[in-house]
């Protein structure tokens, strides 16, 4: 079953489109990720899907209903966690949760099963004001609040931005368990390493979708030869490669440099030989498989060059 069906969706602020002509489907029970930087249009899209913003053109159906006409129906059945958590900082943990439950005409007890896994981690602090919680705990409370009315679709706008690597990992484990309980999840993130945890992802940039596929599909569709270069003096090597006549792209990547060359069929020995003859002596070159981030950067660059 298709949970979200979007066709030609466009939203402009003034003359500038925040999203233009987006079309995609989200299937029941999948974790669908929107991967892209700030300003790509993710929040605008999510606000339309959750009936909080009207599109200029195109249409979107969620749970088979129109997001403009059937907003009352949908609001009962959607869970939305905005980028800046919508918690009441002066209320306690428990008061926040009760408040959200009462808005949806339910109680904590009625849906405790669904949130138990998450809420039990912050329950020892239920008397604490939300404003005094750490980032990771706020995130867990916000997720509990978004779930308390047992939504069929959960929309999470950058739930892990500014959150440390450990809390991010735990958060994704929670999402996986929610998925197992049959909840469809749409989530956005600027972290490329979270992309592989989604069933399908859309890479989004400047209001347009560059590509939609499974993480594996995106990576295996990448046809260029990607080189990993490890050098003693990374900065000098980067500077050299950036001015190298055959360079397509040069990016620092963890402890190495990821490099694309405009020549086809170049092998790593030829490249190494070439680098050494140009005075970059102390380096290692290998052809590696591209990751999501490599593909995304390559698509972004093509997109920019076309404009």
């Amino acid at each position: 079953m298709t949970v979200v069906e979007v066709r030609g969706l466009t939203k402009k602020y003034g003359k500038k489109p925040a999203i233009s002509n987006l079309s995609f489907d989200v299937n029941e029970g999948e974790i669908f990720g929107f991967i892209g930087p700030d300003g790509a249009g993710k929040t605008t899209l999510f606000r339309i899907l959750t009936t909080l913003l009207l599109p200029n053109e195109g249409n979107a159906k969620v749970l088979g209903k129109d997001v403009v006409k059937d907003y009352k129906y949908l609001r009962q059945r959607l869970g939305y966690m905005p980028g800046r958590f919508s918690l009441y900082m002066d209320l306690t943990v428990e008061e926040n949760l009760k408040f959200f439950a009462s808005i949806f005409n339910t109680t904590i007890e009625e849906n405790y099963d669904l949130i138990k896994d998450i809420y039990s981690q912050i329950e020892p602090f239920r008397e604490r004001r939300a404003g005094d919680l750490s980032g990771g705990m706020k995130q867990k409370l916000a997720l509990s609040c978004a779930l308390i009315h047992k939504p069929q679709l959960l929309v999470l706008d950058e739930p892990t931005t500014g959150v440390d690597a450990v809390s991010r990992k735990e958060f994704w484990e929670m999402l996986k368990r929610l998925k197992e309980q049959g909840i469809t999840i749409i989530v956005s993130t600027p972290y490329m390493d979270e992309a592989i945890l989604c069933d399908r992802i859309a890479l989004i940039q400047n209001g347009s979708i560059l590509k939609i596929d499974t993480p594996n599909g995106i990576v295996s569709g990448f046809r260029k030869n990607l080189f990993s270069i490890k050098a003693n003096n990374k900065y000098d090597t980067i500077k050299f490669l950036e001015s190298y006549e055959f360079a397509d792209s040069v990016y620092p990547f963890g402890d190495s440099i990821h490099y694309l060359d405009i020549r086809e069929n170049l092998n790593s020995n030829d490249l190494l030989f070439d680098l050494q003859s140009k005075g970059i002596a102390d380096c290692k070159v290998a052809v590696i498989e591209a990751g999501i981030e490599d593909v995304f950067m390559s698509l972004m660059k093509e997109n920019r060059d076309e404009q």
Binding site: G36, P37, G136, G162, D164, A165, V166, Q205, G254
Partner: protein, 248 residues
């Protein structure tokens, strides 16, 4: 970076808030021209430690000097010797690019002539010459970040403190930003940086990892990875930070 001049020296630095010890007796040095990554989970005490180092918060006990000045009684000298860029950049949205540059340069006491020179130089370097009269709020986030960094070091400080400078930008812009950091470090400027992107930890010369107010590990990324038998800094971080996390 083959010199051993220390520009930050910290020993047993501690800060308590009531009964809670936010920073618990940390000790480390940072060398001139070094890119020093200051990592830790949310709430580990990074921000409190940085506030003490830049002269915004008094320590409870311990010692620290920054650029040779004491954090207890020379905080004004420290402020003149460092640049600071926070995750919420302090650019004025309703001023133009050129106005922001001259505002910060003025605060740091540059003369009108220096301000004009610096403004031209900076706009040229950032490729913003045609946008000098545009408002900050009309700029993409990536440009704001580069500008905020350049403005933070406009008075040529010996140390730049960068608090999560790359949050939320696209992966290309993030890397362009790191090129600015590398360049500054090549020019002997010391970089003290925090980040949640663990691949960026790899770009640092040395990295410290704070857990519950203490520094649990401090070494080069390569040494940390081999010590904790991990392929990436992300794994190192998760091993260390998870250790004590359960109790909160």
């Amino acid at each position: 970076m083959n010199n051993n001049k220390k520009v930050i020296e910290v020993s047993d630095l501690t800060r308590k808030f009531g009964k809670f010890t936010a920073v618990d007796s940390i000790s480390f040095d940072v060398k001139e021209g070094e890119i020093f990554g200051f990592l830790g989970a949310n709430g580990a005490g990074k921000t409190t430690a940085i506030k003490m180092l830049i002269g915004l918060l008094s320590p409870t006990s311990g010692k620290a000097t920054v650029a040779g000045y004491d954090v207890y009684n020379q905080s004004e000298q420290i402020k003149k010797s460092i640049g600071y860029m926070s995750q919420k950049f302090s650019l004025y949205e309703d001023l133009t690019i050129a106005e922001n540059i001259s505002f910060y340069a003025g605060i740091y006491g540059l003369t009108d002539e220096q301000i004009n020179d610096k403004t031209d130089l900076l706009l040229k370097k950032l490729d913003l010459e045609n946008s000098r009269n545009e408002l900050i709020k009309s700029l993409p986030l990536g440009w704001k970040q580069k500008l905020a960094f350049s403005v933070a070091i406009i008075h040529d400080p010996s140390i730049a403190f960068l608090d999560e400078p790359t949050g939320g930008v696209d992966p290309i812009t993030r890397r362009q930003f790191w090129n600015l950091i590398y360049e500054a470090a090549e020019n002997k400027r010391t970089i003290f940086v925090t980040t949640h992107y663990m691949d960026e930890a790899e770009y640092c010369d040395r990295v410290s990892i704070m857990v519950d107010g203490r520094i649990e590990a401090l070494d080069s990324p390569a040494n940390l990875k081999s010590k904790y038998d991990s392929a990436t800094m992300n794994d190192v971080f998760i091993q260390l930070a998870r250790k004590n996390q359960v109790k909160e």
